[in-house]
Homo-oligomer: 191 residues x 2
Amino acid sequence: MKILEEKILEEGKIYPENVLKVDSFLNHQIDVGLLDVIGEAFYEKYKGKKITKILTIEASGIAIACATAKFFGVPVVFAKKSKSLNIGDDVYVSRVSSFTYGKEYDATISREHLKNDDKVLIVDDFIAIGNAMKGLVEICDQAGAEIVGIGICIEKAFQHGGDDLRQMGYDVTSLAIIDEMTDKGEVIFRD
Amino acid sequence: MKILEEKILEEGKIYPENVLKVDSFLNHQIDVGLLDVIGEAFYEKYKGKKITKILTIEASGIAIACATAKFFGVPVVFAKKSKSLNIGDDVYVSRVSSFTYGKEYDATISREHLKNDDKVLIVDDFIAIGNAMKGLVEICDQAGAEIVGIGICIEKAFQHGGDDLRQMGYDVTSLAIIDEMTDKGEVIFRD
């Protein structure tokens, strides 16, 4: 998606260890106009597929999921990363190891909000090694929900999480695919 | 707001220690149509006030902030609750004690995204004792940003966080104000 690639080139910042910071528009400060375009792109790809839920994981994913859900007219469900007083015990859980936060957490979704007749579109801001997305896939398996697709804003292809999921048979749609981030601070997109 | 009160009565669940669970539509599963109505209500209250940023805190606040920001045509900025690799050191920080999660965390916002010429509307899903909102107020003070108002979906008035902020001089707009939650599971709204 041209507009997202341009935004990454204009405002993204590269840090050591392949960190790409897009926190001026995607995951700290949020450009809600851009979100709308992103949501519509996922809708164009998956409309007609009878999606019943947009699934994501807190925190940045929530903004993208809400923008997408509006086009589909279905609810968002987001997995929690820490256990609150409120969530209860009747939950699906998947253990996720986070590179960005340098720790492990339990992705948790209440059984009440994900069922075996749900047809799910999973969305998130980034995929790198893909542990968070694999956690959501595992939770959908626990629920018996069907995963229609996985929509990602930015795929860091050299960290292989997207391809892992494709090899598992999932339809992964990434709006910007980065093949390489160079030491000079260049971002090379896939054509 | 009638539609929000009705939704609370229909789908809200009361648990011990004054916990009101609204996770079927507001903070686990999200009704994006309702979000739109909420965002518009905040817009009607604060339009014409030259708001430059909608400020909130992860996670549930993000959905409400994005729905609100769309009406104002301004960016969202959300405070992070845990330190990621990506946020850097040039940040505002306020220590917050969370009742819901039973722990303390540092609410953190990059200095890059909040400035002394910003006019801010703070929004969140709930206010109870109000520690998260007080943390965001402290961060705005650190930045020298002006707080035009604080928009809350559900205020639990008997826990006094909303009134604390009003006494500090802030314009708090709560769309549903709960005066009492009874042992019988009743929710009593303020007229």
